[in-house]
């Protein structure tokens, strides 16, 4: 039996022993323990070092609000989780926990020198003031040092081997919190026949009722819990223990993070570690309870100083005596309740110190009846003890706020009962406004939010009887009924009444004491006063300046005290100082839970063309284009990408190349008004296009800028095969649908995406016809029968095909469209047939070079959303006599006609082998004057194997008027002189197209 364990009582299984490790100590506990309760049972309070001053810190709380006892849990195999609250970690056999933020050890921490530094050096905002000079030293010297010295646990370095699940759920009523109010609400809703989900962050449902001596309905509170949970289970309520509701979003969309296997020694290998529940609830009942607040007095942070309610829980629920001699500082009657139950558990209560002027109420009476000493009004003015509190000084509090002579009391446990504040975080996230209850100095839910109900302590209804009654009412309201029966009677409870907000008087030099407000961020009462003194008025600014209320606990035990201190310093009432915003998550949620299955190969869908596996087998190097994988090149052994692309380019110019163009977007546009529709969507004329012919189409946004391009073939008077850029397919279809559905509703047209239906194989080069002809049946490929820019339906390699005579290389070319399922077979047939003619597969690298040699633009490379057809030199593509098309009117806006617009030109470097950087600026001078604008930028730049020199395309202001002029492109290593030329470097007459 551990040193501090009671012989019986509590909700732990003493018949089984669990071994665990904390730093270098081998310890034991029992099933039902948390890491915190097990440490306390072993007499260990010291659990970590503080964030800034490296002060020894103990376990403060018993739940999610714990600011001090943050530990790293290592499960082996890369499973490391830092910053877990020991109060929420369930004990299992073999658990390995380490404390954080110290060196070399928890007991002897060199960083504690920070605590002895001169006054003010590390006070609020110190990093804005202290480490200013010399310039540059902040980023290089101070910040890394401070970051190393301060902080929480270390992030894991290995990939997370666990997996995580996501699940959607729907219910009529979601109840958050399974304490008295939540259980009552779930009962009321279930009894009304509603589909109910009841979620609670703890391993066991019951909340505060699991650590309670009062009787509910004549039986022990924990027995009432068991009875209620059985009824809920029988009624089909979904019971979710270990599920933290961390965020409430619009329309009752609630996120629950469920810990599925973290409490198991050997999890099932297929079970997820955590599960994210995305719950859409008709009604939500928030029964999230209340959080006890610490009291702010000098050196209130030593190990052994904890919240009264937490100590009571450790005694009643976990059978732990958290100390042997306790002093209880009770500004709330919860301190009396704790003192009575701890005394019952065998802890000697040295004194109950009550600072309240009106403290002598039901709690004090119960304490006296139990034979305990109550002093008041009085305060604790200081504590001592290095790694554990060993004494406190207690002084009477005079009516004028001063303190009387102090007396030292030896003790090893100090309990703080500062009064509760409702856990309104989720209500606030649901956009509920909060109301300040001035009498009790706390915020409670204000105006009701439709579909959201609050119940119990979260609603300001403190005590079991009040919470049960409030829960039944809220549950019935959520079910759309009224509570059918009265709430069960409660006997023997001490209702938590009273509070103290802000710092307690101590009568000492405030510069010489540290009275902590925010334990996790090492923020003292003086820091907050300092922030106010330095001019911060809003609590949001005070928070950011002092860091109070930040980090993992988000001010659960510090916000109200900080607010009260700031309000007092400002001389304004609390509500006028404001309240910091509550944002999700309520407690930290792992990235794994949020990512769920969206990791690795499932992170993003991958689109592969029918010939992908073939290309892979040939050693192709792929690039991502949108979600597509496209082959960049097919390098031979010993070739790099540049050499491969150059060889592929030469093959296309000299013989023939085979290119996978399946990623092109394809849209089937059909219907009696198809031609009229295209007239309105593209700049060109379509009515005049004969069936069997195709045309390069240019699509503008309504603002007149080039948005997409592609070849459009007319298959029949009422049917067009439209192609789009690879990346633009979805955008173009949405654009077309938009106009068809909302503007051109007079037209009868159907649009169908066929991108995935067609595999597209380009055969390009002087021998293209020779390669293709033997495989084609049903059409004549001759120049006379099928000239450039025609389309035919036929068979290729025995497969029905749409055959386009088009070229994106400047060579004689065809694009074979076959059903995707036949794509690989046809590709292989063409590849085999082409071997006799030197047919070479080529990738996107070569494609880019080939098209740039011809000056063919790529939308998205030569354009950036601010480029007009005329800017690209494509003014001829504006259909003559077309009164209107999308974008037409914008082309005559004054800015679109300015003479200094950037125009597409070619650039040739003086040094033929110097390669410009894409995106580099184009300037008039080699060394431009600082502050002058560039003339434009390089959009494409390649080494051209055909021309044996570099070529570049650029957008240059008034570029067409600068032909032959010398401009400069500043680059690393010096500006390159370039000559402006027409943006067509090869075969400007297009004779190679017509072979």
């Amino acid at each position: 039996m551990s040193v501090a364990r009671t012989p019986d009582g509590g909700r732990i299984d003493r018949s089984q022993v669990l071994r665990f490790r904390f730093d270098d100590s081998n310890l034991t506990g029992h099933p039902g323990d948390t890491l915190a309760s097990a440490l306390l049972a072993n007499g260990i309070h010291l659990a970590g070092r503080s964030f800034k001053y490296h002060r020894p810190r103990g376990i403060l709380a018993a739940g999610a609000e714990e600011p001090n006892a943050l530990v790293t849990i290592s499960r082996g195999g890369g499973r490391v989780t830092p910053n877990l609250r020991a109060t929420q970690v369930e004990l299992y056999e073999g658990l390995v926990a380490t404390s954080q933020n110290h060196w070399p050890s928890l007991r002897y921490d060199a960083g504690a020198i920070n605590d002895a530094l001169p006054d003010g050096l590390l006070s609020a905002g110190f990093y804005y003031k202290t480490f200013m000079a010399p310039a540059g030293a902040w980023a290089g010297l101070y910040e890394p040092l401070i970051r190393r010295a301060a902080g929480l646990g270390e992030a894991p370095t290995q990939p997370d081997p666990d997996h995580y699940a996501h699940r959607y759920a729907f219910c009529d009523v979601l109840v958050v919190g399974a304490g008295a109010a939540g259980l009552a609400a779930a009962l009321a809703a279930a009894r009304a026949g509603r589909r109910v989900i009841l979620a609670d962050e703890q391993a066991e449902l019951g909340g505060g009722l699991l650590a309670e001596t009062a009787l509910v309905d004549g039986i022990a509170a924990a027995d009432w819990v068991a009875q209620t949970v059985a009824e809920l289970s029988a009624a089909g309520v979904t019971l979710l223990p270990r599920a933290q509701a961390f965020g409430v979003y619009l329309q009752n969309f609630v996120g629950l993070a469920e810990r599925v296997t973290d409490h198991q020694m050997v999890p099932h290998p297929k079970a997820p570690r955590e599960r994210l529940w995305k719950v859409r609830a008709g009604q939500v009942v928030l029964a999230t309870g209340a959080i006890e607040q610490p009291l702010v007095f000098p050196d209130n942070d030593r190990p052994g100083i904890m919240l009264a309610g937490a100590a009571r829980s450790y005694a009643l629920r976990w059978g732990v005596r958290p100390g042997t001699r306790a002093v209880v500082l009770a500004a709330c009657d919860s301190g009396h309740a704790a003192a009575i139950d701890l005394a019952q558990a065998g802890v000697s209560i040295v004194a109950i110190v009550d600072p309240r002027a009106d403290g002598d109420g039901a709690g004090a009476a119960a304490s006296r009846a139990a034979g305990l000493t109550v002093r008041g009004p009085a305060v604790i003015t200081g504590t001592s003890g290095r790694l554990r509190v060993n004494a406190v000084t207690v002084a009477p509090l005079r009516p004028d706020g001063g303190t009387g002579p102090a007396e030292t009391l030896a003790c090893d446990l100090v309990l703080m009962a500062g009064g509760f504040v409702p856990a309104v975080h989720l209500f606030s996230q649901a956009r509920g406004t909060l109301r300040f209850d001035a009498e009790r100095a706390l915020y409670v839910p204000g105006d009701p939010v439709p579909g959201i109900h609050t119940a119990g302590a979260c609603n300001g209804a403190f005590g079991i009887a009040a919470a049960l009654a409030d829960g039944f009412t809220a549950g019935a309201a959520a079910a759309g009924t009224v509570a059918a029966e009265p709430a069960p009677a409660v006997t023997g409870e001490i209702v938590p009444r009273g509070s103290w907000r802000g710092a307690l008087p101590h009568g000492r030099d405030p510069r010489r004491v540290k009275a902590f407000v925010d334990f996790q961020n090492d923020v003292t009462a003086r820091d907050i006063g300092l922030a106010v003194q330095e001019g911060f008025r809003s609590i949001e600014h005070v928070k950011r300046y002092t860091t109070t209320g930040m980090a993992t606990d988000q001010g659960k035990t510090s916000n109200m005290n900080g607010l009260a201190i700031a309000a007092a310093a400002l001389g304004r009432p609390v509500p006028e100082v404001g309240l910091t915003t509550f944002r999700p998550p309520y407690t930290p949620v792992t990235f794994g839970t949020l990512a769920g299955p969206s990791r690795g190969p499932l992170f993003d869908p991958v689109r592969e063309t029918p010939a992908h596996a073939w290309a892979q087998a040939q050693g192709a190097v792929f690039e991502d284009v949108g979600a597509w994988k496209r082959a960049r090149a097919f390098p031979h052994a010993g070739e790099d990408l540049h050499a491969a692309a150059a060889r592929e380019c030469r093959a296309v110019r000299d013989a023939a190349g085979l290119f996978d163009a399946s990623t092109l977007g394809k849209i089937e546009v059909c219907g009696p008004d198809a031609a009229t529709f295209l007239e309105r969507l593209y700049t060109n004329s379509w009515a005049s296009l004969a069936p069997g012919r195709c045309r390069y189409g240019l699509m503008l946004s309504e603002a007149g800028f080039v948005m997409d391009d592609g070849v459009v073939g007319r298959l029949a008077p009422d049917r067009f095969h439209v192609t789009t850029t690879t990346g633009g397919a979805a955008r173009v279809l949405a654009h077309m649908e938009d106009y068809l559905q909302t503007e051109f509703t007079d037209l009868t047209v159907w649009l169908t995406s066929t991108t995935e239906q067609w595999a597209v194989i380009a055969v390009q080069g002087p021998r293209a016809r020779d390669v293709l002809a033997p495989l084609v049946a049903g059409t004549d490929l001759s120049e006379a029968a099928m000239p450039h820019m025609s389309v035919r339906t036929c068979h290729v390699a025995g497969v029905p095909a749409r055959l386009f005579r088009v070229s994106f290389t400047g060579e004689l070319g065809f694009e074979v469209n076959v059903p995707a399922g036949h794509g690989l077979a046809v590709w292989e047939a063409l590849h085999a047939a082409g071997q006799a003619f030197g047919l070479t597969p080529y990738g996107t690298d070569a494609m880019h070079v080939l098209r740039a040699e011809k000056g063919y633009v790529i939308v998205g490379q030569e354009t950036d959303g601010t480029v007009t057809p005329d800017d690209l030199g494509l003014g001829r593509m504006i259909g003559r006599g077309k009164a209107d098309f999308v974008g037409r009117r914008s082309l005559s806006r004054p800015d679109m006609l300015r003479p200094d617009r950037k125009q597409l030109v070619g650039l040739l470097t003086e040094d033929p082998h110097a390669l410009l950087q894409e995106g580099a600026q184009v300037t008039a001078q080699a060394t431009p004057v600082r502050g002058t604008a560039a003339l434009g930028h390089v959009t494409s730049s390649y080494a051209s194997p055909t021309l044996d020199r570099s070529i570049a395309l650029a957008l240059v202001a008034n570029g067409r008027a600068r032909m032959g002029k010398t401009l400069y492109v500043p680059m690393p290593g010096g500006a390159q002189a370039v000559t402006v030329v027409a943006p067509v470097f090869l075969d400007p007459g297009g004779s190679r197209l017509h072979g």
């Binding site: 979003y249 329309q251 956009r431 406004t433 603002a703 649908e737 909302t742 209107d884 009117r889 806006r893």
Partner: protein, 102 residues
């Protein structure tokens, strides 16, 4: 995540099925060539940004694929009504509700 009622599917569907399409009831002039530069610029670029209800275009992209209009409150982010494209805009002033939020 919002639940949005598609007026064609007559179902409340999650926001991820939809795509927002900007302010509604901004009709493209039937004869753009007759519109002044200033009016055309206003048509292209200028949109309302009210604190309160606004009629917006939405498309049920991953559902029926159709465009419809929705009135959304810009403070509370609640969708107050949805109706098929082409129907007249409801009276927004009648739809102003007490603002939630902070």
């Amino acid at each position: 995540m919002l639940l949005i009622r598609c007026p064609y599917c007559r179902a409340d569907r999650p926001e991820i099925e939809f795509r927002h399409g900007g302010q509604a009831h901004v009709a493209r002039p039937t004869d753009p060539s007759a519109v002044s530069d200033a009016d055309w610029a206003a048509f292209l670029y200028f949109r309302d940004n009210p604190r309160g209800p606004i009629a917006e275009r939405w498309r049920h992209t991953h559902g029926c694929g159709r465009f419809f209009n929705a009135v959304r409150h810009t403070v509370t982010d609640t969708i107050l009504a949805t109706y098929p494209a082409g129907e007249p805009m409801p009276d927004l002033t009648a739809m102003t509700r007490p603002e939630g939020g902070r």
